[in-house]
Amino acid sequence: MRLSWSVVASAVLLMFVASVPANPKPAKQHAEKPSKNSKTPIDEFMRMSPEERQKALNRLPPEQRSRLQERLRRFNQLPSEQQQTLRNMYDRLNQLPPQRQQAVRRSMNQFSKQTPDRRQAMRQELRGMAPLEPQDREARMASPEFREKFSEKEQGIIRDMADLVPPR
């Protein structure tokens, strides 16, 4: 008896499904929720329900938890354009082979230790490289002007970090 009920229920549900148009227009995204295309752990976290988020956070020591919450809040407050740029760079970083990722992280660490004017000079160089194709970037980095402008260490940093700058 119960089994036959299940057959009837399935039939009704199948009819209902059949009446739903395939690939309906996607619902408008909630303003605070990240796009479904964003795959960073931060976005995944933000897509979780509030209960799931709280449960995940509860696994951290209190101090660590509140610090993480604060960092997430700050990230979410960044202009959406900047968030997207960071996501793109994050994706590029994580698509690199592990050893390459390690090298890029090391270079970014080195970058942060440079003086503000040197950092600015390197940023400017990377900005200039952004529209270039890979072979043009290589040519630029091999140029005497580039070698003169940047120390060997800086050249290495730029070379590593150029991996994160998508050609425009």
Binding site: L60, P61, Q64, R67
Partner: protein, 214 residues
């Protein structure tokens, strides 16, 4: 079911009480792995034994690494939680303590790296005083001796704190946990020669800061 969600009294885990380890017939190296395998098979008392054996070393290591007792204990809780969570997939491929200290080091270094050791000055003063009070039960010391001792302790802690975090972890494992180079290398996931190099640089630095204390 009680407040903690345990079925009482039959399902109350027996690891909830500190257990005396009377399995001395097992060799020390194998015993932890053996205990962990028993935890994997559902013997929760064995988890209590593992906790009893390693609680102190893990907390002390983390305390010296992050230099805050409360944080060290929170991190140690996380270490043992992770061990417990991993019981289902545990395979004794590496020495248990190596695995344990790898988790502890990872959590400790992350905590340091994330810059959570803020307002260190104040914290170090407070912890040095409280730590000295907690660790000293020697009532025969005079006030002067006590002051000298505290200054010395503070200097040692500062010297350790000034080491880069990986060097710090290596020194703590070498000095206080008496680990071999190879084991430290396994914990830090690097080569034995890299560990030696870390330690030589670290001790060089410590000699420059602490040799006068002889």
């Amino acid at each position: 079911m009680d407040q903690d969600g345990m079925h009482t009294p039959a399902a109350q885990p027996s690891w909830n009480t500190r257990v005396k380890d009377n399995r001395s017939e097992l060799a020390p190296l194998e015993r932890d792995a053996e205990l962990m395998l028993r935890v994997r098979d559902g013997d929760q008392a064995s988890f209590g034994l593992l906790l009893e054996r390693h609680r102190g070393p893990v907390i002390h290591f983390l305390y010296r690494l992050v230099q805050r007792q409360a944080v060290a204990e929170e991190l140690a809780q996380e270490v043992f939680l992770r061990v417990y969570r991993s019981r289902g997939t545990y395979e004794p491929s590496a020495k248990f303590t190596t695995w344990l200290f790898r988790i502890a080091t990872h959590l400790g270094l992350n905590w340091i790296r994330d810059g959570r050791a803020e307002s260190r000055e104040e914290s170090l003063d407070k912890e040095t005083t409280e730590g000295a009070t907690r660790q000293v039960a020697d009532s025969t010391r005079t006030v002067e001796q006590e002051m000298v001792y505290r200054v010395k302790l503070r200097e040692v802690r500062r010297a350790i704190e000034c080491l880069p975090s990986k060097q710090r972890a290596a020194v703590l494992m070498h000095k206080y946990e008496e680990m071999e180079y190879s084991e430290i290398a396994n914990v830090l996931s690097c080569s034995e020669s890299a560990v030696k190099s870390l330690l030589f640089r670290a001790y060089e630095h410590l000699r420059s800061r602490l040799a006068h204390m002889a």
